[in-house]
Symmetry: D3
Subunit: 247 residues, 6 copies
């Protein structure tokens, strides 16, 4: 099989994470996965959400958006339509759960960190790129709190990253670009930690189905990809990664 | 391990599907899985949705709702809050995709079938119960069209049903009730066809993760449960199931 | 005149109220009037609404909804349209006022009881069936509070029930089903107490009018019907009705 | 009994209707009933509403609003709250039904007339004043169409006006001002035609009830008041009333 | 050049301000500028807005609305569309800023005064008429507070009024009516104080532009017009204007 | 006077416009004015807006947004609040009018070009930076249409750019950064064409006013700044600017 951009079935697109992308936010990155580009900012608020008042722990949450022309044809703004669509809801809940799974929320203290993931150019895999990038912004925001002496221990317990896999014309492939994603019979998003444990496995057939054997192949491929992404996160963070997973 | 209602780890709750539950709808069932009760109605409209006008095929979609006191404490109506929440969106998209995966949409013709799944009492597993029940309502609606001579062949290609599995206190269990679901570290919803092929595998750890080994155990358990559910659907439908999967 | 279902002009449809219909709610019934079926649940909250904080009394309010396929053709969800329609508002205000008229609100204490009336199948008279059924759910919720020793005296001062009357092809008839209601020139909803006093008299001509004489005939007929309904409520409640109206 | 403004129980407040109040509208009046002041404009559109396309007849509808400081304390704008409240819905549906009851809609032709009733100062009875005033604006708009030769016959079949009655401290009184309305145990709005036929009888007890005898007394009183109002409408319209009720 | 209503280029339309137009509001006027008619009410609330709690000063804000048939063809209500449009937002922010510019907010104390400007008939210049009229209503409301001894000194520091100027068929003219405004290439709204200082200068070319020279001519003309308007405000207020600008 | 970033009163911040910033849009730039960064994309649609159907000309419109953390403290998304705020409305209307003032809309043909201006980092002057940048994106989109032979002549009639001026601590300064803007007594936004003609002059005092003399000084300063910006646009566009203003 020939992939549209010449990649091998098990090959990721070029990935780049640029830290300190925004001067206001406590943590901020531009994450690029092929032509997909997402700005992830981490904003720290000194109180937990309402449902955790007095619970002695913090919260990490995410919001996701797309600029109207991030896509091939212009999409109406959700602010104009007056509501957040179902797809947006699904994605931001996914990002939030993924990041919380590696956080020691009591160690964070009574704070909320909001990760805004805004897609400025979309070419497939925006939700998984958001998770991979937002994790780096989150670590920067947490180090910011540590530098101010507001928290003592590193509340990030492990690395986390995500990628997509899918079946396209019968072939299982890694990290689908938009054209592959549109043509895919099966699409699976996987979120995995540095320790090789899974946090999300979301496989979906749209007007199609998949076998037990294909589940295994797809997870194998994703595992490889995420291991590579986590190594890249470590490299990008350098000394800032100190203490992650040492609890 | 002792389950709260005395079940074995691999045991489903009692399931009952009552057909012809509503005198107006083209197909309608009350599905009960333990104390979870959902009314599923299938409404046929004689035109496809806008995005399929002229495409020579039909569409199957779903909406999901909960009565305010379906839950232990009263939940505000989405109509009062003025918008559909993220969880509702996720669930209704899931139900729609699941049902479409077994439909021959060109054979349905330029029609829309809307499956309304309204939870009148919730005790865990409302989305999977909705899929299992809505399938039966869909078959009744389709037979209704056939009886009127509006479609020639059975457009339902296979059976489909769903259940949840999860890890609770380290043990993998089938068909979680509300209390188990609240305590579960990992929750997985699986949708599978009569032919044993998967349509959705959605495993999620909330502030937790799971191993590759546990993925396998959970899928094994779900597979067993869904096989049982599909046999029950066949029994409930009786002659009405004729032609499903014979294409 | 011949009624569509063979009833005499002054005959109610078969009525059935099933108590304890929902395991979560403090009070809950399924009320059936002919083919009209409404689930009424009473939810108790331990504080009054904002406008009564500190006033030393409670409140009873109602919300009304319809499942999309409660009707002959599917109706879009109010949650999807993003707002409560005018008809829904009118009905839920009516139900709330009717129930409050027989409540001793100071005796209820600083609590709110919300009656959710959700129509699962509609065939005319859903608002009057809701009042008749919600009253029973309210009594169950109140007894629940008494059983817990939270209130001392029975705060329900009298029975209350409702029915519709109308003029159809010149004839005054009781308890209109959907087809009669659609054809009626005049429609009147009456709410009356066990003591024979009126709480609402709402007569409306849509592109028609009515004489003083017809007002009298319609009220006579409604009075008979409501007396029957209140006797049935007493029977259904049995010992649970103890103390109502004894103040 | 002594009424707050010195009126007798069966006495209306001073009523004034000023025609041609707005230079843009096809019909427009300022109606004043005591200190209640409502601007009613009739706007003619050259097509019927969607649900009547091709039905060969027209429609009359109403909208109702209140300026924020029409009331003793400022009320937030419905435009700011983003939705029309339940009370507004009830009132505008009532006004529309009342006016349609005296219209020959086929004679109006495929047109929509919208009556906007905007309260600029409220002192009780705004809905009944709106009906009484909007009728005059409607007649002016209809004559406007006749003057242009767009309709041949007078489509207004009869006069229509409305007033309120109620029970206050045990006494039945006519045309309640705001203070009386707030203190009333029972409130009834009556809409009646020039021919003495009823279109709406809406009696409501808020935390109170009323006897059959009181229904009769209230209707008697309203009948007198409305007869007076219709005579006043005739006087105000003068020659413009020609043809009403002559069909 | 010939103006549609025969005015000279530098001539205002007839202006009339009627005080005490509404019996409920602390200050209220009907302002008429030609056929433009706006009701302005001032409502005093005994607390500042949230963002000023504890700041030891008050706030003045404005809301703007139009009755549906204030315009030549009926405009849908913003309450029905469920949101405030962009034009309304712009105008009410402008009115609020203009009035605050002449207020000594600490001298007002921890209060909010809301100026509701509701256009009952529009013929161009509704926003500038609103400012000119709302100022008078504001002075009345403030005197009301002084009369009750709630504030000691006059918190109104200067007069303020507004008018529009524009270029129409190449000619610079004052106080455009609706037809002139529709045809104007350039439209400028100016807000100026009694002391001849500017608070807003908003010049806009719609598909057109203007020279530096024209800016000067337009401001000259507006200055004259506003001086006349402020003299008229003084006359209308009479003794009520005492203390303005004496700080 | 000492400006916070050491600039002279009449000095612009460093400006940079990067073309082809987005691979999907017909025209796209990143415009940076000091620390203010805005992505401007131009999207071409092959039909005019509804109100211009059949009018034989096109339309240019703009939308404006801010990422939540473009600002010093996080701002809630308008999509989450469910509506576009007043400030956003004002700004996007301003941008649209400015760009239309230099367009030959009939020469554009029956098309709509939407300029999305999304602020990814804000430090004052986001609306004027949006105009300056969006103009370049618009020229690129128009050249794109010309390259496809869809339009014959250059429909852009002149250059257009914008900047802010203001009075800060009594001193008139050019191009205010956020801190200056917050402290300014007077703020003026000016939009001017390559031919030195004005399209918008919006001067506002918030709780302050300004003299006729200051209006002149502010316009002088803005004129200089905009001349510089337009020269920079010419340089950035190079050959792509060919034909602008040659009509």
């Amino acid at each position: 099989m020939h992939r549209i951009d010449g990649r091998k079935p098990d090959q990721l697109r070029p990935v780049r994470i640029t830290r300190q992308y925004n001067k206001h936010a406590e943590g901020s990155v531009l994450v690029e996965v092929g032509d997909t580009r997402v700005i992830c900012t981490a904003s720290v608020e000194d109180k937990p959400p309402l449902f955790l008042r007095g619970a002695g722990k913090g919260w990490v949450t995410a919001e996701y958006g797309m600029l109207p022309r991030a896509t091939g044809t212009r999409t109406a703004r959700e602010a104009v339509r007056g509501k957040i669509g179902g797809r947006t809801h699904e994605i931001q809940r996914l990002i939030g759960r993924a990041l919380r799974s590696v956080m020691d929320l009591p160690a964070l203290g009574e704070r909320t960190i909001t990760l805004d993931c805004d897609v400025i150019q979309a070419d497939g895999g925006t939700r998984t790129a958001s998770i991979t990038g937002a994790f780096v912004a989150l670590v920067d925001a947490v180090n910011n709190l540590r530098a101010q002496g507001l928290i003592k221990t590193m509340p990030v317990k492990d690395f986390i990253a995500a990628t997509s896999v899918g079946r396209c014309a019968g072939q299982v492939i890694l990290d689908l670009c938009y054209e592959e994603d549109s043509a895919a019979e099966v699409d699976m998003n996987i979120v995995m930690t540095g320790g090789g444990r899974f946090v999300e496995v979301q496989g979906t057939g749209e007007e199609a189905s998949f076998s037990r054997q294909e589940i295994n192949e797809m997870i194998d491929l994703a595992q490889q990809g995420i291991e590579w992404l986590i190594n890249y996160q470590k490299e990008v963070l350098g000394a800032a990664a100190k203490g992650i997973g040492e609890v």
